[in-house]
């Protein structure tokens, strides 16, 4: 990459007690690039995602977002976090707030937008993800797929530089998976930088610029989706694909 990468993970290690979950991870994600993290369960995909906006601390190494090192604590960290959107497996909408208030909370309290500005922008985003008609409902009144699309809108409302998705469709009923994936595909087409953990191989083929394969806390290989799916280099990736694709 000629241009400096938007996300740079350099020599990151992390332990949970004796368990070495991330082993000397080096990863660069360019602006507008869509990275799919694949790997068996327990390989450290979620942990890697969560270290990128410091929901998890790291033992050593460093992580840079748009050239700035992620600070350890405090206001600076909160500011940088706002630039990194995150979508969780379990949606995590604020249960006591309406859909609209879920989306406007960050822009109002972090970015300092007025209520009316924040609401106007939020309505546009809700429209974009197709849930604008639900704006005044509570999260519990929406289907899982709708909730996840609201969660995406909530993250986008901060105008993040990069979006992290940790198995965004794993908690959904099958008939709702596509509506969320469609939203993600259109985001990718608009040029959003994305790091996505998913088991949706169709989506990975369609949307990924690069597949990053993890096993036991290590990056085993990275390649284009075509190459990864048709001609995986490592034994572990072949093994993993064999298990996933034969189901």
């Amino acid at each position: 990459m000629s241009q400096e990468a938007l996300v740079q993970v350099r020599g990151v290690n992390k332990h949970y007690g004796a368990l070495h979950v991330l082993k000397n991870i080096n990863l660069e994600v360019g602006k507008g690039e869509v990275i799919i993290l694949l790997g068996p369960s327990g390989s450290g995909k979620s942990t890697l995602c969560r270290t990128i906006n410091r929901l998890e601390t790291i033992d050593n190494g460093e992580i840079l977002i748009d050239g700035k090192v992620l600070p350890a604590e405090g206001k600076e960290l909160a500011k940088l976090r706002a630039d990194v959107g995150m979508v969780f497996q379990s949606f995590n909408l604020f249960a006591h707030k309406t859909i609209l208030d879920n989306v406007t909370l960050g822009p109002r309290k972090v970015r300092g937008l007025s209520k009316s500005e924040a609401e106007a922008e939020a309505m546009q985003l809700l429209k974009k993800v197709g849930v604008d008609s639900q704006a005044n409902k509570m999260p519990a009144q929406l289907s899982g797929g709708q909730q996840q699309r609201v969660a995406i809108a909530r993250a986008l409302a901060m105008k993040p530089k990069v979006m992290l998705f940790d198995e965004p469709t794993s908690a959904l009923d099958p008939e709702m998976v596509n509506e969320v994936l469609e939203t993600m595909v259109s985001l990718a087409r608009e040029g959003m930088t994305m790091i996505v953990v998913t088991h949706e191989m169709g989506f990975a083929r369609r949307a990924a610029d690069r597949i990053v394969f993890l096993a036991d806390g290590e990056i085993i290989e990275q390649s284009s989706p075509d190459e990864f799916f048709s001609n995986p280099k490592s034994e572990r990736a072949r093994d993993f694909l064999g298990k996933i694709l034969n189901h």
Binding site: L55, G74, G85, M86, F91, N92, F94, V110, R154, A155
Partner: protein
């Protein structure tokens, strides 16, 4: 003497309503103090700063495991008698304020734990989502955690308030003229009416406490968060 004669004898000689009014006032002010202090303690106990967490935990364990009577005695015999720390030039007001402060300090530990049990009802994912959109610890607590935690805390907070209302009788240790002190002197001088006296004071506390229970039950139903 008939039931009503007994009653009117007692009410003629003693200002029972005034005595109970003192307990109501003690309850009210101590509840406010305990709520404020307890909320701060709860914030400390869930904060990311280890020393604040440790201080909050130490407070709760120390205060919760000390009998209230001992705290009240310590305040009066220790702080008041030894250091002559006067909170008001009026002797009665001074002790009244002492009693409120001790009651607040003591019940704050229970308020803290009530709020914390409410915090535990809020899925951690919501706190993570709040942090992920760039909210710091205090805004996350204020806009996301506490509004939901309070709803989950209403029942234990109500129980704490009921305990507080009854524990105001310990203010008698601080020479505050409240209901239980009056009951004691009534029995001393009217030992033939002891059951009647007991009945009057038991009913008095029922009148104070039952509405608190009803109110909290109603509030916790009304405010329950749908998930």
């Amino acid at each position: 003497m008939s039931f009503s004669e007994q009653l009117s004898t007692l009410f003629a000689k003693y200002n029972v309503i005034d005595a109970f009014w003192t307990n109501v006032q003690l309850t009210f002010w101590a509840a406010i103090g305990a709520f404020v202090l307890g909320s701060i303690l709860a914030l400390m106990r869930i904060s990311p700063v280890p020393s604040l967490r440790a201080a909050g935990t130490a407070y709760v364990h120390l205060v919760r495991n000390t009998p209230l009577t001992i705290l009240m005695t310590l305040a009066i015999l220790g702080v008041w008698t030894q250091f002559q720390l006067s909170l008001s030039s009026n002797f009665e007001t001074n002790f009244f304020l002492y009693a409120i402060i001790v009651l607040a300090i003591y019940h704050a530990a229970f308020v803290c734990e009530a709020i914390r049990s409410g915090v535990n009802t809020v899925p951690t994912g919501q706190a993570e989502a709040a942090r992920a959109i760039g909210l710091g610890f205090m805004p996350t607590a204020r806009y996301v955690i506490f509004p939901q935690a309070l709803r989950g805390s209403i029942t234990p907070l109500g129980n704490t308030l009921i305990a507080l209302a009854k524990n105001t009788t310990v203010a008698t240790v601080a020479s505050v003229a409240e209901a239980s002190g009056m009951m004691k002197s009534m029995i001393e001088f009217n030992s033939d009416l002891v059951f009647m006296i007991f009945f009057v004071f038991a009913m008095g506390f029922v009148v104070i406490v039952v509405p608190i229970g009803l109110l909290t039950t109603w509030a916790s139903r009304k405010l329950a968060v749908k998930r």
